[in-house]
Symmetry: D3
Subunit: 334 residues, 6 copies
């Protein structure tokens, strides 16, 4: 029988399953008896749990961030569900299906990866094609690239999000390049491929989404340039030729400048047509993803507006819901 | 007998009156019994109410934003007053005096309106005077203009606030124009009249102050220009002449530029003496209103400073209250 | 025989043709004899002209901005060509082919216009399709829309530039919308159509490119919203139905917000998917146009970089030209 | 017979008068013979002068900034007037009427000063009135205050400009204070009086307008606070009482914050009603003065716009001059 | 026997000592019985206290900010310690050792002060040395300067913090000046001495750290310049000579510009070598102090990062703690 | 006999020497005869040269940027010196002493390099010391590092400038670290060493100072991180151990963040004590160098201020020169 996800729990349910434990606290109740409170999470959400009469030993037997095998009963408390726990113990990690604990793309990762491969292997420029192959031959890279989210919270924040973001951008690049003669299609495709590749080391996505220390200190732009430098060194093994120096500099420039301005953390602004187009497509895909997700995730159907989004610094108009489109002139105040 | 306003309620009072219900919640007490908690509001403030042992049916019988006829008893709970409710039901809207629920100007709206009319009907320029008349002949416009607040929270946030703001600015304009020869007094007066006129559609002020959908999407500047364009089309019916094109462009420019800079949402900066003066007077009246209101509304008399105001990004000095004007040199730390 | 354009003039040529006169000055030579100096322009460039021993009467017989019929001889002076004039007189405007004096799109305007019509007439939404028809039925509008540049200097600064910009954006919108389900394709297409429509009144493009007074005071955003409002009023004549109010507000919002931020002169930021996509496509097309034009117009082939562009605040990398890609380590300073 | 001012000079005039010499240079003509070139200025403008066959001794006999007695003849050279000098020598300063060399207010300085005195001597608050008297009793201060311009270039850049600026602001303050109950009129009047008083040491205005070293290093805000501190120390001699500490802090705060924001060089933002009103009035008077002067000084009547003003970062619309208010739809490009 | 500080309290302790009372509230328990809740503070931290069955008279017998003699028992409540009070009364201020209630520098204030004196008394320039003496002879100034914190929260926020900040900067200046010939060492030392001297009036530090009214309205920059002006007037009594005017202007300029930019509240930017160096040293010392304190105060040893610091707008990397330096490639999601 | 440098040339000198040719132009004189005009440069400055009656063949025989052997005579023309050339031909590069053509540090490069080596070879941390050795063993790197300027124009813009900047910063770091316990001295020293190392590829300094293509597209920050990555890979050959990963990330972070903010082109802000200190020392050394150079290079001794510096956005006060420190109160305007 399958797992009961957090979003499936109902008042009165008896549970015995593995959850990710966060925010553990040892508290005392009114009578001074200690109890453990923690948050149980999986990819569908979180629920509060309490284990009464818990000693310090049990409390120290696990850490926030561990997976716990828990037993208990769901109950409604002051309008919210919580779990009254009867047993907790650390779960063995090898038995855990990590995909239960992180949100993932709704698209088929294999198909997305095939699309990515297709774009790279059909490149005309032999050096760039060989560069693509070098990345694809690196299993660790591929495993990270197909798993990594594109962001922790802002956009595509789910397993496979980076791959989804990149393949969508490749499709768009494929359609836009013809409108701008003088723009090198192969460079744009490879720039799209690599612009966020550094995120596979910048972010952590083993259990929950976050930043690695290296990620916070260096950022995905610097990491991505380094990954590119490493792989380019391998290309001559495939092509028998030195990788053209100008081509490499152009590629690095695209990664460095893809945020568009200094203010957004790019140490260089786009100075080639390919870098400018990459920035534009990235901007469109991230902004459209955010704005459409805001609409989709806003479950409160009776309002015309989403809640305020701090990244976008605005609310998004969903429309269609109420009669306040035009302000009614008040009938009278008399 | 008149209504008991929220600010008049005292511990032990028995109440039976209509209030605006907001923030309704269904909660469970320690024993798991459900109760309704909500906020009861009128123009003088808000008070928390609880109705014990309330079922879901009652909870669903009204919405936040409805007017409720409530019965109950006021009591002091942990230093704050609350109402223990014994009965609630939706009130019929037609019996409600809306002025009980929205703050309104302390000035006489009729006198303010007469002043407005006076300024407009005594304009020298026949086209501008006829334009003023066209607005004054529009009952819906006049009802909105005399009721609308000038802002939701920032300044003049009460019924009649827009009218009060505009007539004060007209008085000021009347006194300042003579200092700046080459500035067209009639244009300034009409610019003052119309600069915020779009707010009567941007804002909602039927029950509580907020933004209409149109208001959020277009803003009062664009709406105001549109209202001006509509009314100008009627002027030739009064004057028998085409409205001068340059005059119209100058007026639109004043509405568009009255926030002074792009950063504050004006798509154009003031480029005529009249537009510059309008912006300056608007700036003075809104800032002075905010700063004086901060002082007036700060009931904590034992401090020399108001709380931090986020719009102004500062605290305001009230003064006169304490001995900390100069930092006392500490006597000794030995 | 066709006209000799400025860029075709060579040392020793005898000319007799019409040019646009600008920067006229009356000067005195070393002997104190007065002469007229002016700039002769057509769409291919400008050349300096001098008419010796010219009196004040001749000088006053025309204005800068007039078309002149000139006779003279081209000569090389200190490395630059100039014309020694023997005769000038004002030319009759009706005999002038204006297209000789303003740069124009290299594309076929008729085909671009057919594309525009195609997009508008095939819209699914009957209200939006009728709105498109109302614009297309307005000959003055169509004449302006097909002639107007998209900018005075920044991008698409040539006759037909606006049409070229808009049809390219329509093609792009057509390809991008499918990637963003939940985005209304018809709204995006009409938003693209109208976002810069106000430029046909903001700009002047009869003889040279510039801003109209109305354009400087109101800007194409406010003018465009006004044009939209006017035409929407005609739609019910075609559809027999009122134009949906929410649809209209969404369209106006797109025009108002298409610059993306307050700083760039939009009084509102994009708050719908359609407005966000419109802004993104506009950004890409204007930036790509500028960057590719910089490369194309930089005729100095011996450099790897274009001159500094003040709008982009950068130089653009053309590449491929020299050995300085990597800085050579200096051999020695000994 | 009076002086011939620069703006009165005509081709062929013989002159013998004193001018301020600036930009002196020693040059060589085509034959290698040295000549002196300099600019001759008075308050109405400047004209170029040349003295042929001048030796180094003569060149070194005066400095830029000296007054010279010059003899020569005015002639037209390449469309501009210049003076061919026959004699120059340093003029004795005591014989010079300085008012000939600096622009000065068109108003009557004595009347302006009487108005200033009137405002200060009629103050209700005895401490502030005595403070005003202390300033008025200081002849050096009064001489500087009545002579000083309010700016070097930006606004009121003429002798008496500061006095004119301050008295206009006093008149405005007098009219605005009644609209804002809770605002101390006396404080506002004295704040207006002192807000720019530091300019009498910040600026130099003996011969030409500029900044003193102290002015550049400290600024008129810091200097003004120091002047206030000095004079306040004298007030008890008049009143027999200590100057109230809070009143002094409020006054200093007004001077410190009158530029409104950090960006414009105020170390503090206005935090009292009086400081806010002072800032608002100052902003209006400086901006209106600049915009109206732009219009007035633009003698080129054939344009609807003034030249670009770098302080305002805009051109100003004068209007009324041409047919480009609305962009003409081009008749045809065929 | 010494005082029991808050950080020494343990579950079960009986206390009878003086604490600073803050945040006092009168609340009612579940049975409606009133109780007093307050925060008891000393320089080591704060602890919550409750006194059951307290009447309004007792509640009104003291204010937040008073010192209270309290008796009670420490107990653990829900994981935090609190004090169940049995008696409270206002303490006589003269018996209180203020150093128990404010954090203070860990360094020896006497040694820091000796260092300060040493720097000032060994200055070469006799005017500057005499200026230093004038400050040192002023007991009130010295008492404030040695007690004052350098900030309320940001850096060196403890008694003696200003002295510590200044003497460290003097040591640094002493070592840096030799690298920049042309920089006047004496001026830099005195500039360091005085740059924040205005804080002894800007801040309050008698019982808790805060801003005086004068401090909020004028700021330490303006106050510091005023203090300098006052003391300079005394210097001739020691030297028998006028204080050199340029020297004084340079010193004032250093105080005025030490924040480096307008945005950070300096009305002038540094325009002399000495002012620039002062700004640089101040920037280093404040930033380094903040960043090192973040690391030191973050007691949660199991993380590699400090919490987000709002002044620095960043988290600080402590390092060394976990395995997330590099993001682990997830083993598998299958 | 040594070379005659440009700054040594005097009217009437006969010259026969090598100069760097720039700005070459072919012009025609009044009679239509062509002549060559060019600028002759060496490290002491530039002088204009003309070669009359020059043909196109000669003109095409060299490029701007070539070294020319020139013969001619210096003469004074309109107050400026110029060279009337009698012969020019391309000089053989191998015979040229490049140090004649680029400004170089006034310090002894060998001593500076010894200091650098000393700091690196005495590092305590074996990994960092070995890293330093790896750089020092790379002759190409050392040649570049000792020759490269620290900037093209802004600061240390001369051969050896980078080395001078870095060694000064090492000295300063050496003295400052002890004030900030918890800061790793070795990391700071190596961070100082490498922070601008990327400039040896970012800049070109073979003949004149400029940017390489790679430098413009990637910037010295990204290049420097790449150089560090390359060299770190060699360290285990010396130490026999892997380079500690955290140490490497901390070093890269220092290079990436040394500009302090995004606005100045750092993709990351300083998040460790060592990165913060590096940024502070860099800021001090660059700013002090600029401000002192402004004073030193301003040869116009009669003014108290340097010309406006666009990088610093200010003029620098030299002082001591005139009587305008305080504005003189004008004697009288009567």
């Amino acid at each position: 029988m399958g797992r009961r996800f957090v979003e499936q729990l109902r008042d009165g349910d008896q549970i015995e399953d593995v959850y990710l434990a966060t925010d553990k606290q040892l508290r005392a109740n009114r009578n001074g008896n200690p109890y453990i409170q923690l948050e149980l999470r999986d990819r569908t959400g979180g629920i509060s749990g309490r284990l009464w009469n818990a000693g310090e030993n049990l409390f120290r037997s696990f850490e926030s961030g561990d997976f716990l095998l828990v037993e208990g009963k769901v109950q409604n408390f002051q309008g919210s569900l919580q779990v009254i726990l009867t047993h907790i113990e650390r779960a063995e990690t090898e038995k855990i299906d990590l995909t239960d604990f992180l949100p993932r793309t709704e698209q088929d990762v294999n198909k997305l990866y095939d699309k990515l491969r297709g774009y790279l292997l059909r490149l005309t420029n032999p050096h760039l094609r060989a560069l693509g192959e070098c990345f694809l031959m690196d299993d660790t890279f591929v495993r990270g690239f197909t798993a990594c989210p594109a962001g922790v919270k802002l956009h595509h924040a789910y397993v496979g999000g980076l791959l989804e973001h990149v393949t969508t951008m490749m499709d768009i690049a494929d359609r836009l390049v013809p409108f701008y003669p003088g723009t090198d299609r192969d460079l744009v495709i490879v720039g799209v491929f690599l612009h966020d590749a550094g995120k596979i080391r910048e972010l952590t996505y083993g259990r929950a989404f976050g930043y690695s220390d290296e990620g916070q200190l260096l950022g995905h732009i610097a990491i991505g340039v380094e990954m590119l430098t490493e792989k380019v060194a391998r290309v001559p093994e495939l092509t028998g030729e030195a990788f053209p120096r100008e081509l490499l500099v152009r590629l690095k420039h695209m990664v460095l400048s893809h945020h568009g301005t200094h203010e957004f953390g790019s140490p260089k602004v786009p100075m080639t047509p390919e870098a400018m187009l990459l920035h534009g497509i990235d901007m469109i895909d991230t902004r459209m993803h955010m704005i459409l997700r805001e609409i989709k995730e806003d479950r409160n159907n009776s309002t015309a507006w989403t809640p305020f989004n701090h990244t976008l610094q605005r609310r998004v108009y969903k429309g269609g819901a109420n009669g306040d489109l035009y302000a009614p002139a008040p009938d009278s105040y008399d």
